[in-house]
Amino acid sequence: MTAASPLEAGLQHVVALWEARGAGLVSRRLEGALGRTFRLEELGGPVFHLQLERGRALWGDGAGDSAPHAEIRMSAADWARVLTGEWSIVAVVLAGRAPYPKHQRRYLMQLSLVLQTLLLSEANAK
C-alpha cells in the first residue's frame, strides 16, 4: 500500500474540515467558489477533482464528470504548504509556479481564500 500523496492527504483533511464547519466561513463575496468543479493536479502525480457545496464536498480521483471551472497544477511540495494553510493557491501563482488563466481567476482567488481560511481556522490549526 502506497502512502497518500500530499494532494490526496491534504484533500481528505480539507473535505473533513469543510463538512464540519466550512459553510459558515463563506460570504456572498466568496460564494463563487461554491458549486464549481476544480481540477487539482500534482505535477508528475495524481489528479483529483473537488466541488464545495454548503455542508458537503464532492471529490475523487481524476477530472470528474463535468468540465472543470478552474484547474490548479503545482508541485507536491507546494500542495503540501497550501493544504496546511501556510500558503494560499494564489501565493503559489504569484511565485510563478502555477498557472492563472484569466477566465479562471475569480474561481481560483475565491477558492484560494476559502481554503486558507478554513485551514487556518482556530479550531483546526495548531
Binding site: 464547519r21 459558515g24 466561513l25 460570504s27 456572498r28 463575496r29 466568496l30 463563487g32 507546494d78 504548504r81 494553510g85 501556510e86 500558503w87 494560499s88 494564489v90 501565493a91 503559489v92 501563482v93 504569484l94 511565485a95 510563478g96 509556479r97 492563472y100 477566465h103 481567476r105 475569480r106 482567488m109 484560494s112 481564500l113 476559502v114 486558507q116 481560511t117 478554513l118 487556518l120 481556522s121 482556530e122 479550531a123 490549526a125
Partner: protein, 475 residues
C-alpha cells in the same frame, strides 16, 4: 447579471439601468447645498487625511523617481504637487499626487474600493485647472466617492478586491467633467473616453512601484478624457452598463442595479474608512495591537519574543501570505531590488513585527534600513496566522476589521492585545490632524503645516481652491 427594467422597457431587449446617463446627470446636477452636512464634513476630512498621505509619500524613493520622470508630460503653472515646490499640468499633478497617496498604502476606501487616492488628487488638480471654489471641490469629492462606491459594489463578485478594483476611470472622468463645466453629452463622452481602454492590473505588478499607477493613471486619464470630451471628441455614451461595455469587460459578474441604487439619497461617502497607519486595511488592527504591546510591556525587548500569533479574518492571512511563496524569499527579492517595498505594504507579518519593534508604523519602516534590521528580520520568521471565525464573519457581514495579537516571550509569558475594529473605521474615527501632521513632518514647516491644516478644514469657505493648494507647496 442582475438586470433591471429600463424606463422604456421592452421585454425582448436586454435591459439594465442606463447608468452612464444617470451618473452623468448626478455628477452635473448635484448642488453643494443638497449634500448633507455630515457628508460634506467627511469629504473635507478625507482631503485632510489623503493629503497627509500624499505628503508622507514624498519621502519614498518611488516618488523621487516619478518626480524625475514626469516632466515628459509637459510643464505649466497650473496644479499643485502636494509637498513639492513645482506646479505642473493638472493630469500630471493628479498622477503624482495619486501615486504619493498610495505609495505606502496609506489611502482610504468607501464600501470595498479605495477612493481618496483617486478622488482627492483628481478634485484638486482639475479644480485648480478650472479655478473653482472649495465648495465645488468638495462636491466633486462626494461625487467621486458616491460613484466609486457603486461601481465597486457592482463588481464585488468578480475577481478584483480592494485597491486592485479597476473602477476609478469612471469616477475621475465624471468629477473632471463636472469641474470643467461639460454638458451632459460631453460628460457621458468623458466617461466613454476614459473607460474605453479598461485599466485592469496584472497581479504580479503589485510587487513593485508600479502600484502607484493603479489610481494615478485613472486620475490622469479621467482629467484628460473630460478635456477631450469638452472639446467635442465623441465616445460611446452607455459604456458603463452596455453588455459589451466597461463593467462587463473588467468583471466576470456585474450587479448592474448597484450602479445607480440610492443615488442622491443613500450617501455611501458615509462608509469612508481612513487609515491611521500605512498598510493594507486588513493589517491595521494587528498593527495597533503591536504598537500597544510595545508600549505596555515593561522594558519591552523584541529579542525576547519567541512567537507571534495573529488572529483575524481569513482575508488577513490570505493577503499577508500572498508573496510568501516567492523564492528564495520575499525579503531576499526585495533586497535584490527585484521587488520594491510595496509587497510589504500588504504583509501583515512585516507590519506587525515592524510596529512591535519600533512602536510605530510610518514611511520610515518602509526604508531598507528598517526592513532589513536584524530585529525585524528575526521576528518576521516567527509570525503565524489563525482565522478567528467570529472576526471573519464580522468582516463580511459588517465590515468589522478585527485582530488579536498574542506574543509568547522566551520565559513563557504571554501578552495579548485585541481590536475588534480598525482605528479609522466609520464607527471608530481618529483625528485626521494627527495623520496630516505626521505626513507633513519634514516636508512642510510646523507653522505651514498648521496653516495648511486650518485651510483644508475651511475648504468650503474659499472662492478659489488655488488659495488652499498654495499652502501645500513648501515655502
Amino acid at each position: 447579471m442582475t438586470a433591471a427594467l429600463s424606463p422604456a422597457a421592452d421585454p425582448t431587449r436586454y435591459s439594465v439601468p442606463p447608468a452612464t446617463a444617470e451618473l452623468a446627470r448626478f455628477a452635473l446636477g448635484l448642488d453643494f447645498s443638497d449634500i448633507p452636512a455630515d457628508v460634506v464634513s467627511i469629504a473635507r476630512e478625507q482631503a485632510v487625511a489623503t493629503i497627509g498621505s500624499c505628503l508622507a509619500g514624498n519621502h519614498m524613493a518611488a516618488m523621487h523617481s516619478m518626480a524625475g520622470g514626469m516632466g515628459i508630460l509637459g510643464s505649466g503653472e497650473v496644479a499643485t504637487v502636494f509637498g513639492r515646490a513645482e506646479r505642473v499640468p493638472a493630469p500630471t499633478a493628479a498622477l503624482y499626487n495619486s501615486g504619493a497617496a498610495q505609495v505606502i498604502e496609506w489611502d482610504d476606501w468607501v464600501i470595498i474600493s479605495h477612493s481618496g487616492g483617486a478622488v482627492i488628487p483628481t478634485a484638486f488638480a482639475a479644480g485648480e485647472h478650472a479655478r473653482v471654489s472649495g465648495k465645488e471641490v468638495l462636491a466633486a469629492i462626494v461625487i467621486g466617492d458616491e460613484v466609486n462606491a457603486r461601481t465597486s459594489r457592482a463588481m464585488q463578485r468578480g475577481a478584483y478586491v480592494g485597491n486592485s478594483m479597476p473602477n476609478h476611470q469612471i469616477e475621475t472622468a465624471l468629477m473632471a467633467a463636472r469641474l470643467f463645466g461639460c454638458d451632459e453629452t460631453a460628460t457621458r463622452c468623458a466617461v466613454g473616453l476614459s473607460a474605453f481602454l479598461a485599466m485592469e492590473n496584472c497581479p504580479i505588478g503589485w510587487t513593485s512601484d508600479s502600484k502607484v499607477l493603479v489610481n494615478g493613471l485613472p486620475a490622469l486619464w479621467g482629467i484628460v478624457s473630460a478635456s477631450l470630451a469638452k472639446a467635442g471628441l465623441r465616445a460611446n455614451q452607455e459604456i458603463i452598463e452596455h453588455p459589451a461595455g466597461f463593467m462587463s469587460t473588467v468583471s466576470e459578474e456585474v450587479d448592474a442595479d448597484e450602479l445607480v441604487s440610492g443615488l442622491g439619497s443613500d450617501w455611501h461617502t458615509r462608509t469612508l474608512n481612513t487609515k491611521r497607519h500605512p498598510s493594507c486595511a486588513y493589517n491595521l488592527p494587528a498593527i495597533e495591537c503591536a504598537i500597544a504591546l510595545h508600549e505596555r510591556i515593561p522594558g519591552f525587548d523584541p529579542a525576547r519574543v519567541e512567537r507571534i500569533v495573529v488572529h483575524g479574518p481569513g482575508v488577513t492571512a490570505y493577503v499577508a501570505a500572498r508573496y510568501q511563496a516567492v523564492e528564495p524569499s520575499l525579503y531576499e527579492v526585495v533586497r535584490q531590488g527585484l521587488y520594491s517595498h510595496v509587497p510589504l505594504c500588504f504583509d501583515a507579518g512585516f507590519a506587525t513585527v515592524a510596529s512591535l519593534v519600533d512602536g510605530e508604523l510610518t514611511w520610515r519602516q518602509y526604508q531598507d534600513g528598517r526592513i532589513f534590521s536584524p530585529e525585524i528580520q528575526r521576528l518576521a520568521q516567527r509570525v503565524v496566522f489563525r482565522t478567528d471565525a467570529e472576526m471573519h464573519g464580522a468582516y463580511y457581514s459588517d465590515y468589522q476589521y478585527g485582530a488579536r495579537v498574542v506574543l509568547t516571550m522566551d520565559d513563557g509569558r504571554e501578552y495579548t492585545e485585541e481590536r475588534r475594529q480598525l482605528l479609522g473605521a466609520r464607527d471608530r474615527p481618529f483625528d485626521h490632524a494627527d495623520k496630516f501632521r505626521e505626513g507633513a513632518e519634514g516636508i512642510l514647516s510646523p507653522a505651514q503645516t498648521e496653516e495648511a491644516l486650518a485651510a483644508l478644514r475651511a475648504l468650503d469657505s474659499v472662492d478659489d481652491v488655488r488659495e488652499v493648494a498654495a499652502l501645500l507647496r513648501p515655502r
